[in-house]
């Protein structure tokens, strides 16, 4: 009888904990912005190897208070013969590496898992937790942002800061945070990338004295050489000023 009672109580409490994890996640990830997968982990099938190890499964970008970016690092400890699987996550700043928190189990977690898998489509992120499926919508309307977190990150930009940057190969060196500029944004020429341009925070325009050169473009000029030369045709200035390349950036003087 006592065994039966204890068993029933154990099931009840366990069920309540599970509920708390999923409910918390459903509320928290309403503010989901994007998901960055670990390319080494295959989605759609249960994570079973390497047995007993902890893995970063994916990172979830979220809107914190005032819509500053934050991320949740999502880890999974793969079940082994002597322990069940644990899904756990750690909130981190955008510039932090998730791997630093690999062994930190203190934050939100769900233990006792035997089968964990996930699936990411353009519209949804689905978590398969044994027999349960919890799904989260990815934002489809860029005009509407949602924040459910109370944490306020110290993310600030000021005028002239680079808020988006690409290199000569069009690789993104700094992802686009231009929504956090105090006022406006300006495209600048600071690379040979022909399909994308870096951006700075600005409360000024282009083409004036000491301002970034306005963009004439690569296609309009059919220019094939390095952009960073005096009188570079890729940019243009107001009459009376010339294009110069200073600190790898086209400006007007």
């Amino acid at each position: 009888m006592y065994v039966l009672l204890s068993l029933l109580l154990f099931i009840s409490v366990g069920s309540a904990q599970a509920l708390e994890f999923e409910e918390t996640l459903i509320h928290r990830w309403k503010s989901l912005v994007s998901v960055k997968l670990n390319p080494r982990i295959k989605q759609g099938s249960p994570l079973e190897e390497p047995v007993g190890t902890s893995l970063k499964v994916f990172e979830v970008k979220l809107n914190a208070k005032n819509f500053r970016p934050l991320k949740d690092c999502v880890f999974y400890q793969v079940p082994s013969s002597d322990q069940t699987g644990t899904l756990y996550l750690h909130q981190a700043k955008m510039q932090e590496s998730c791997e630093d928190y690999l062994l930190d189990f203190e934050q939100l977690k769900k233990e006792g898992l035997y089968n964990f898998a996930f699936e990411l489509t353009s519209k949804k992120l689905k978590l398969f937790l044994d027999s349960k499926v919890v799904s989260f919508s990815l934002p489809k309307d860029p005009m509407v942002l949602v924040s459910t977190l109370s944490d306020e990150s110290q993310y600030k930009l000021k005028n002239r800061d680079i808020c988006y940057q690409v290199d000569d190969q069009c690789e993104v060196l700094k992802k686009n945070d231009c929504d956090f500029c105090p006022k406006s944004v300006l495209n600048i020429i600071d690379s040979n990338c022909k399909t994308d341009f870096s951006k700075i925070c600005a409360d000024f325009g282009c083409g004036g004295m000491n301002q970034p050169a306005c963009i004439r473009g690569w296609s309009a000029t059919s220019f094939k050489l390095d952009y960073c030369i005096p009188d570079s045709p890729i940019g243009f200035c107001k009459p009376g000023l010339r294009v110069f390349c200073e600190s790898a950036r086209l400006i007007c003087k």
Binding site: A16, L145, G217
Partner: protein, 335 residues
């Protein structure tokens, strides 16, 4: 001994046994809810987003609450009808805050929603463009790799009042009048505060000239925005010239292929022009008769930005100074 205790306290024992079972089934039923739970279907965020973006409110919700007509473009991305609708629908908002760039912050049930004010912008398709009124121009440029968004309408009185944080309550009729009372410097400041820049003249040209194919060095230009045929449409529905009714900022007239309005007629409009800074004013407006040669795309005069309408001749000889012209409109562009 045990059976004696059980028989004596059988009610309590039965309760002790049944209670966890009841708890278990309650949690199981809740658990099933989680199983089918989808965060997108649980809250009114999507509904709020639809209202904000498309302005399809219930007529009854706006009665006695907002005077903005349902059919007006002005109703999109506007806080007043949204708050009317939420009140009518019984959605309890904890707080709201309207920023001076028109973004609206709502808080409901520990969730903060940012509704961005981007309903009235259009993206300029990536292409090679040419500025100025003539077929061939040295002002050739492209926006490949650049996102450029343009205000579809003029900046209106409501937006300027909001920018200045004035608590002035404007009627719908007053709100949608084009904002014409700002100095050139203030117009730049307004656009910066919206996250943009005063619209550049060559970007306006790109959004106005009807697209034509041909060699890049010789980009064909149409005189009017509605087709390649250089045929003037002499009706007030196509564009606003002298004798037509006064134009509102949000009216769909002077339409271009890109979705930008007032590219011809309506009001004179000032631009930033990095190619030719002095050529900063579109003159075609409701102050000039329909046959006036200024009613062509790409033509610019010069406005000095003072409170008086004060411009120099450019391109097509002198404008008839006798025309009574009042008010210069403007709009912004965004990267």
């Amino acid at each position: 001994m045990l059976s004696l205790i059980i028989s004596k306290y059988k009610g309590i024992v039965a309760g002790l046994i049944l209670l966890p079972i009841v708890f278990y089934f309650i949690y199981q039923s809740l658990d099933k809810e989680v199983r089918v739970k989808d965060s997108s279907k649980l809250d009114p965020i999507e509904q709020i987003s639809e209202y904000w973006r498309f302005g399809k409110y219930e007529k009854k919700a706006l009665d006695q609450c907002s005077d903005i007509p349902l059919s007006s473009d002005f109703i999109k991305c506007h806080p007043e009808p949204l708050l009317c609708q939420l009140k009518y629908s019984g959605v309890k908002i904890n707080s709201y805050e309207l920023r001076n760039n028109g973004d609206l912050y709502l808080t409901l049930n520990q969730t903060r929603i940012l509704l961005k004010n981007r309903c009235h912008r259009v993206a300029l398709p990536e292409n090679i463009y040419s500025a100025g009124p003539r077929d061939y121009s040295e002002q050739i440029w492209d926006n490949l790799g650049q996102d450029i968004f343009i205000d579809r309408f003029y900046v209106n009185n409501f937006e300027v009042v909001r920018w200045r944080n004035q608590s002035l309550k404007l009627s719908y009729k007053e709100s949608i009048k084009p904002a014409t009372g700002l100095s050139l410097e203030e117009r730049h400041e307004y656009c910066f505060a919206q996250g943009g820049h005063l619209l550049q003249s060559h970007v306006m040209d790109a959004a106005s000239f009807f697209p034509q194919t041909g060699p890049i060095a010789l980009i064909k230009k149409s005189i009017y925005p509605w087709s390649k045929a250089n045929k003037l449409k002499k009706d007030c529905e196509s564009f606003r010239f002298a004798g037509c009714s006064q134009v509102s900022a949000m009216e769909r007239v002077g339409t271009s292929w890109s979705g930008v309005f007032h590219v011809i007629g309506s009001l004179p409009e000032v631009f930033e022009n990095p190619f030719m800074p002095e050529a900063n004013l579109k003159v075609s407006s409701q102050f000039l008769p329909v046959e006036n040669p200024w009613h062509q795309l790409g033509l610019r005069a010069s406005w000095l930005g003072r409170s008086e309408f004060d411009f120099k001749e450019k391109y097509l000889g002198k404008l008839d100074q006798k025309q009574e012209v009042k008010g210069v409109a403007f709009r912004c562009m965004y990267y």
